[in-house]
């Protein structure tokens, strides 16, 4: 019998991480993500894992990257201001191709903002927070169940693609308590990073596997010696200014994700077949949006619902395929218009796109989104 619990989203993130094989957590207290660190502190040593409270946000992501290089699945959790502080080292993990999972429980910003209130203002920070080109993978859970399942997925993607994966939770999803059915061990897929097979003396640490553009990864301590640097590097991991090598490094970082976009993107739909109005929403907002769409349907309105689960890469082909009879696309989000830019790009003028932002720290009521639908209809 699968186990049923009544958990908050932040608890589900921890339990999902441990189920995924996470054995290291480096953290720093910040609302509204602190429960993740607190529960990790209690749970990780019970499975032989390591929890450490570091001296600041920067150190916590640094420790996580170090632990991952030493072979453990590792993650950290934070919120807006802490996410900003971690960005340089997140970029280090992109460049050095180290798998790490970063949970960002979004709160109102900018700056200290509204620490205890919900927002979706970090959609673009997740995409472009660190400097330099890179492909982002970010997942947005909308339920406690998804906090568990998508944290496992975040580890799987991170291990597979050797790069950071962001779980963009939000204050409502993180703190809301609801029923969760714990998947039984063995019922879900677990991915571990590819390990090198060759003799350590012949190991070329950044030589990509032509199959997927991803180099197998050795851990410090398992017999291989290699150099890790945030400088642009050649296949031996050693710094270089060679223009061809520098370009190929960045292009490969992009390519290793873009090639497999179709396998990464996740989304959800409801009543899209004959929809003339499509509501696009994610995270906590998707719950009130779905409620409003159901209400509209019950009144005979042709309204459908599209929920990106991977915010990055954005499920653009998938959304494009649903636009046939759609005349209006509605994008309610808890910011002044971030994801709508992706929606507008995909729609490309073929339908009208209307945004509705809310940045007062509250969540939309279903009636507000229903009224939004009525205005457009």
């Amino acid at each position: 019998m699968p186990k049923v619990e009544f958990w908050q989203g932040n608890t589900a993130v921890v339990m999902g991480a441990i189920a995924a094989g996470c054995r290291f957590f480096g953290g720093y207290p910040i609302t509204p993500s602190s429960e993740i660190a607190e529960i990790m502190a209690a749970e990780l040593p019970k499975v032989g894992g390591k929890f450490i409270q570091m001296e600041d946000e920067i150190a916590s992501i640094a420790s996580v990257i170090g632990a991952s290089i030493a072979g453990l699945k590792a993650m950290t959790a934070t919120s807006g201001p802490g996410f900003s502080l971690k960005q340089e080292n997140i970029g280090f993990a992109y460049m050095t191709e180290v798998p790490v999972v970063v949970i960002n429980v979004m709160r109102g910003g900018p700056s200290t903002g509204l620490p205890t209130k919900v927002s979706q203002q970090d959609v673009m920070q997740a995409r472009w927070g660190t400097h330099g080109d890179h492909e982002t993978i970010a997942l947005a859970p909308a339920s406690v169940q998804e906090c568990y399942e998508l944290t496992i997925e975040a580890f799987n993607l991170s291990e597979r693609f050797r790069q950071p994966v962001i779980l963009l939770s939000d204050e409502v999803v993180g703190h809301m308590r609801e029923k969760i059915v714990i998947p039984e061990k063995g019922s879900y897929h677990i991915v571990d990073r590819k390990r090198p097979k060759e003799d350590p003396e012949k190991f070329v640490p950044y030589k990509p596997d032509p199959e997927d553009d991803i180099p197998p990864m050795a851990s410090f301590g398992d017999g291989y010696r290699w150099h890790v640097t945030g400088l642009t590097h050649n296949q031996w991991g050693f710094p270089t200014n060679d223009p061809d090598i520098a370009e190929e490094k960045i292009l490969r970082l992009m390519r290793k994700v873009r090639r497999f976009k179709g396998e990464i993107v996740k989304y959800d739909t409801y009543e899209v077949e004959d929809a003339e109005i499509l509501v696009v929403a994610y995270g906590s907002v998707s719950r009130t949006a779905l409620s409003a769409v159901r209400e509209a349907r019950s009144r005979g309105m042709r309204v459908g619902f599209f929920r990106p689960i991977t915010l990055w890469p954005f499920p653009d082909d998938e959304l494009r395929g649903l636009l046939g009879g759609v005349k209006s696309v509605l994008v309610p989000e808890l910011n002044c218009g971030q994801m709508i830019l992706e929606v507008e790009r995909v729609v490309g003028g073929k339908a009208r796109v209307f945004g509705k932002g809310l940045v007062n720290g509250e969540l939309f009521r279903p009636s507000e989104i229903f009224d939004f639908i009525k205005e457009v209809a």
Binding site: R23, F24, G26, L44, P45, K46, V47, G48, G49, K50, I52, M54, E55, D56, I58, A59, S60, A62, S63, V64, I65, G66, A67, S68, I69, A70, G71, L72, A74, E88, N89, F92, P200, S219, F220, G221, G223, Y224, R225, W226, H227, V228, T229, G230, L231, F238, P239
Partner: protein
């Protein structure tokens, strides 16, 4: 010439190194490698971490598990490595700017936490790589590109900082005393706990040119003439110690080590069974 054992620890195919001719960093790297050879360390079980700066390029030249991280943050990366795999010998090599300015917070907390890592701080009193800007260890009155009229603020004493923050082992040598560096590094790496070896070195290119020590030998002679062993220094007055570099071992004590404590915790909560 380095011994064959030392050469075996070098990635000579990545030479030439980036350091200026006459730089002190090579003396320190050689002493570090002699200490590792002497201790019988294995390359595949030794991690050399660093941040950003001239000194931080050292790990690239060492044929071990090497980790060149972001500016100031190497101790936090090294903490993750060591906690994840306590069997590894972890050494963190830093410059004065890296360790005491941008990385100051990580440095004092690594000392406080007393995690079994050795920090080697190469103190040349300047930001060399970026062109000779003042660092937290540039002496008052010395000239730097960001202190064209002389430095106003008082420098850190890195050893006092480490001792005050709780490190198990703290020592200082200069590049004029390579055997002393080797001995202190050997003691530091053998110490179960956080160990700090400050090595006073020179940047004749960026610091020396502006401060009347333009040639490498001017600096070596300066260190020879002005270093005082700490047992001798303890009998000297403050006036006599003015401008002197006090070298020696300042702290060498046994303290509870972080990872040992964490292992005990795992055992207490039954985590070693899973």
């Amino acid at each position: 010439m380095p011994s064959q054992e030392v050469l075996n620890w070098l990635r000579t195919r990545f030479f030439p190194h980036i350091w200026c001719p006459g730089c002190g960093h090579g003396i320190i790297m050689h002493a570090l490698l002699r200490a590792l050879v002497d201790l019988g360390k294995k390359k595949e079980e030794t991690v050399i971490a660093s941040g950003i700066g001239c000194s931080s390029r050292m790990p690239g030249y060492i044929d071990a598990c090497t980790l060149h991280t972001t500016h100031g943050r190497s101790l936090a990366f090294a903490t993750g490595v060591k906690l994840a795999n306590p069997e590894l010998t972890v050494i963190d090599v830093m410059g004065d700017g890296d360790c005491t300015a941008i990385g100051g917070n990580h440095f004092i907390h690594a000392c406080r936490r007393n995690i079994d890592i050795t920090a080697i701080v190469m103190n040349n009193n300047i930001y060399g790589m970026t062109g000779g800007q003042a660092s937290p260890t540039t002496p008052v009155g010395a000239y730097a590109t960001t202190a064209p009229y002389g430095v106003l603020d008082v420098p850190f004493d890195i050893c006092k900082l480490a001792a005050g923050a709780g490190a198990s082992y703290v020592a200082r040598a200069t590049v004029a005393h390579p055997l002393l560096i080797e001995k202190y590094v050997r003691n530091a790496v053998s110490k179960k706990g956080f160990a700090v070896v400050e090595v006073v070195t020179h940047c004749h290119t960026q610091f020396g040119r502006k401060n009347k020590r333009p040639r490498p030998i001017d600096n070596i002679n300066f260190f020879k003439d002005n270093s005082v062993m700490n047992n001798k220094a303890s009998n000297m007055t403050l006036e006599e110690l003015q401008g002197k570099i006090v070298i020696g071992e300042f702290v060498n004590i046994e303290l509870p080590e972080y990872i040992e404590q964490y292992k005990n915790l795992i055992e207490e909560v039954g985590g070693n069974r899973g």
